[in-house]
C-alpha cells in the first residue's frame, strides 16, 4: 500500500496526478517516504475523491482526522483550499508544505501564508536557462521545447530555456532555432511521440521535455531517431540514455527539509522563493553526456545566474494573457539570436 503501517503523521495529497508522475508529486513522495522510514514516522499518500476545491478540502480534513501533523501539497490546485483552511482554527497546529504555489483568496489573489504554512516556489527559469545555455554551448543549434500544460512553472522553464539558448548563441555568434509546444497533457501518448518524432526528423537535435510523463513518449521518439532529450525536475538520466542533462528543482530536498524542520520545531511559514543561489535549482551534476560542455563552463554560467548578474525574463514579467506564448514583446526583444517556432 501507499503508506506505512503506523499512524500517518506525514501526509501527501496530490491532485489528479499520481505519485509516480515523474514530476513534483513523485519527488515529494520520495521525500515523505524516506523521512518517514528513516525516522519511524507514519506517512501516507492520499488522492482526493473529486478534483475540486471541495474535494481537496475534504481530503485535507480526512488526512487531519487520520492524525496528520505535516501535510505536503504539491500543485497550484490546492491554492484556493489552502487560502480558506489556513484561516481555520482547527488547522493551526498542522504544518503545511506547499509546492509551486501560495494560498489564494476567493477572488484568486495570492495571500500571505500563515505561520504554519510553508509555500515553496522555484525560479524554474534559472535551471531552464542553464539547460538552454548548456545545449547550445554543447553545439546544438536546433532545439525543441515541449511543455505539458502552460502552468507558470512550465512556462518559466521554457522562457529560461529560450534565453539561455539565446545567450549561448550570442556568445558563439550563431543563430539557433527552437520549436516550442505545449502538449496539453502530462501523460504519454502516441500523439506526443509522433509530434516529437516529427521534430527530430525535421532536424531538431534535442528536446527539453518539460511535463511529467510526456517524457516517456519523447524518450521513445529520441531513441528511434538517435536524438537527445533534456529532462526536468529531477535527474532523469537513468530513465533513458537519450537524456543529456536535466533541469532540476529540488522538490525532494525541500520537502524533506521542511518535514524535518517541523519535527525539529524549526518550521517557518511564509513564501519561500527557492533559487540557484541556495542550490535548490540547477542542472544535474553529471556532465559526461555532453560533448563539449564541461563542468567548468557550467560553474561559470551558474555563478552568473545565481548572483543575478544575468537578468532572466520570467512568467511574472509577461502579461498573463500570453498563456505561455514565447513571442511576447518583452521576451522577443531579448531573443536576438533565437528563432522561435511556436506551435499553438
Amino acid at each position: 500500500g501507499s503508506g506505512s503501517k503506523s499512524k500517518p503523521e506525514i501526509a501527501l495529497i496530490t491532485d489528479s496526478g499520481g505519485i509516480n508522475d515523474k514530476s513534483f508529486n513523485q519527488s515529494a513522495w520520495e521525500a515523505v517516504k524516506e523521512y518517514g522510514e528513516k525516522n519511524g514516522k507514519g506517512y501516507k499518500y492520499y488522492k482526493p475523491a473529486n478534483f475540486d476545491t471541495a474535494g481537496y478540502k475534504a481530503q485535507i480534513k480526512n488526512a487531519k482526522d487520520n492524525g496528520a501533523k505535516v501535510i505536503v501539497l504539491p500543485g497550484y490546485k490546492f491554492a484556493a483550499a489552502m487560502g480558506e483552511l489556513q484561516n481555520d482554527e482547527k488547522y493551526k497546529d498542522i504544518h503545511f508544505v506547499l509546492i509551486d504555489f501560495q494560498p489564494q483568496d476567493a477572488k484568486g489573489n495570492n495571500v500571505e501564508p500563515k505561520s504554519n504554512v510553508y509555500a515553496a516556489t522555484f525560479k524554474e527559469f534559472q535551471p531552464g536557462y542553464l539547460a538552454g545555455y548548456a545545449a547550445v554551448k554543447d553545439g546544438y543549434t536546433k532545439l525543441g521545447f515541449m511543455g505539458g500544460i502552460a502552468l507558470p512553472a512550465v512556462i518559466n522553464y521554457g522562457y529560461g530555456y529560450l534565453q539561455g539558448a539565446n545567450d549561448a548563441a550570442k556568445a558563439m555568434n550563431k543563430t539557433v532555432d527552437v520549436k516550442y509546444y505545449y502538449t496539453g497533457s502530462f501523460n504519454e501518448s502516441p500523439e506526443i511521440k509522433t509530434k516529437a518524432t516529427g521534430w527530430y526528423n525535421g532536424g531538431t537535435e534535442v528536446i527539453f521535455s518539460c511535463g511529467g510523463q510526456i517524457c516517456n513518449s519523447i524518450f521513445a521518439a529520441a531513441k528511434e531517431t538517435n536524438k537527445k532529450v533534456i529532462g526536468v525536475d529531477s535527474d532523469q538520466k537513468s530513465q533513458s540514455e537519450t537524456v543529456i542533462t536535466s533541469a532540476m528543482k529540488n522538490v525532494k530536498k525541500v520537502v524533506k527539509d521542511e518535514i524535518k524542520a517541523s519535527y525539529d520545531g524549526k518550521f517557518e511559514g511564509g513564501v519561500h522563493l527557492l533559487e540557484a543561489k541556495d542550490g535548490d535549482v540547477g542542472l544535474s551534476p553529471d556532465f559526461s553526456r555532453f560533448k563539449n560542455f564541461k563542468k567548468a563552463d557550467y560553474d561559470e554560467v551558474f555563478k552568473k545566474v545565481s548572483d543575478g548578474s544575468i537578468k532572466i525574463v520570467s512568467y511574472a514579467d509577461v502579461d498573463a494573457n500570453a498563456k505561455g506564448d514565447p513571442n511576447t514583446a518583452n521576451l522577443k526583444s531579448v531573443l536576438t539570436n533565437v528563432t522561435v517556432d511556436y506551435q499553438k
Partner: protein, 320 residues
C-alpha cells in the same frame, strides 16, 4: 522523400494497434457478440504483458525478440481469459452485451491499477525498457524505397500486424471456421439447424477478439512509452470505431485503420510537412482533422452498413 518515410512510419504507429484490435472486434461481432470491452481487454493485455516484461527485464530472464514474443503471449493469454468473462455473460447467460462490455472496461482498468499499486507499494506505473526496435533488417533494409518504408526503424509487430490482417481475411472468408462464425452472426438459428454449435463458435469469436485486443494493448504501449500507466487512452473505443468504419470486413478495417492513422499523423506532424506548416493554422484545427474527416466519410459511406444481422442478440434456441 524522407518526409514520406516519416509519415508512413508514424501512420503505422497508430494504425497497427488499432487494426489488430479492430480485427479482433470483427471476429467477435461477425460471430454475433458485440464487444464493447476492447478498452478493458487492451488494458489487461498491456498490463500483463508489461508486467511480465518488467519482471523478466529486472531478473534478466529473457531479452530481445524472445522477450517480446513471450510478453505478447502473456498479453494474448490475459486478453483471452478476460474476454471469456464477456463470452460467458453474453453467450451463456444471454446478458445485455453493452452492459457486460462496459463492466469489463471498468473492471479491466480497476484491476490493472489495483494490482500494480498493490504489488509495487503504491506505484501505479510499470516501467520497461524498449529493446525491440529494429534499426534495419539485414538485407531487406537496403532495398530502395521499400527498405526505408518498411524495414528500417521498425518493429516486428508491424509485420505481425500485416500478417494478422492477411490471416484474418483468410480465416474469416476462406475457411470452414469463418463460414461457421459468419453464419452464427447472421442467422444463428440457421447455424444451429445446420448442426453448428452456436455457443462454441461464438466463444471462439470472442476468444479471438480477446487475444487480439490483448496483444493490441501491449503493442500500443511498447513504441510510445517506457512505462505502462494503466490506460490505453480510449484506443479501445477508437478501435471499435475503426471496426465499424471498416464495415466489419477485414480488408476495409485495414483501410480504415490506415486512414485514421494517417489523419492522426497529419494532425500531429503537420509542422514537419512544409506546405501544411506554412498555413500556420491553430494546433486545434489539425487535431480535429482525424475525427471530423472520419465523421464526414462515415456520412457518405454508412448507407449500406454490413452489420451482422444477429449482432448483439443473445442466441436463444426457442426464440424465432
Amino acid at each position: 522523400m524522407s518526409i514520406v518515410y516519416f509519415l508512413f512510419n508514424q501512420t503505422l504507429l497508430f494504425a497497427i494497434p488499432l487494426m489488430i484490435v479492430a480485427l479482433g472486434a470483427m471476429f467477435s461481432e461477425r460471430g454475433g457478440v458485440v464487444n464493447l470491452a476492447l478498452e478493458g481487454i487492451m488494458v489487461i493485455g498491456a498490463f500483463s504483458g508489461i508486467f511480465f516484461m518488467n519482471w523478466a527485464q529486472t531478473n534478466q530472464v529473457l531479452s530481445g525478440m524472445p522477450l517480446l514474443f513471450a510478453s505478447m503471449a502473456i498479453a494474448a493469454l490475459a486478453g483471452f481469459l478476460f474476454s471469456m468473462l464477456h463470452a460467458f455473460a453474453a453467450i451463456n447467460l444471454a446478458a445485455d452485451q453493452t452492459i457486460s462490455g462496459t463492466a469489463l472496461n471498468i473492471l479491466g482498468a480497476g484491476l490493472a491499477i489495483f494490482i500494480a499499486k498493490t504489488v509495487q507499494d503504491g506505484a501505479q506505473n510499470i516501467s520497461f525498457t524498449n529493446e525491440f526496435r529494429i534499426e534495419s533488417i539485414p538485407g531487406l533494409g537496403s532495398i530502395p524505397v521499400l527498405g526505408d518504408l518498411l524495414f528500417k526503424n521498425c518493429y516486428i509487430t508491424t509485420f505481425l500486424g500485416f500478417l494478422l490482417l492477411a490471416f484474418s481475411w483468410y480465416l474469416l472468408m476462406k475457411t470452414k471456421f469463418g463460414l461457421h462464425l459468419r453464419s452464427c452472426g447472421e442467422n444463428p438459428q440457421a447455424a444451429d439447424a445446420a448442426g453448428i454449435s452456436v455457443y462454441k463458435t461464438r466463444y471462439a469469436g470472442v476468444a479471438l477478439s480477446g487475444i487480439l485486443a490483448g496483444v493490441g494493448g501491449l503493442i500500443y504501449i511498447i513504441p510510445i512509452s517506457t512505462e505502462f500507466t494503466g490506460t490505453v487512452a480510449g484506443y479501445g473505443f477508437l478501435a471499435l470505431a475503426v471496426m465499424i468504419f471498416g464495415n466489419y470486413s477485414p480488408l476495409r478495417i485495414g483501410g480504415a485503420a490506415f486512414f485514421f492513422g494517417f489523419t492522426k499523423t497529419i494532425s500531429f506532424a503537420y509542422s514537419s510537412i512544409p506546405f501544411i506548416a506554412k498555413l500556420s493554422l491553430p494546433d486545434t484545427f489539425y487535431k480535429l482533422i482525424p475525427y471530423v474527416a472520419t465523421l464526414i466519410l462515415l456520412a457518405f459511406t454508412s448507407k449500406n452498413s454490413a452489420a451482422p444481422r444477429a449482432d448483439g442478440i443473445p442466441y436463444d434456441k426457442s426464440r424465432r
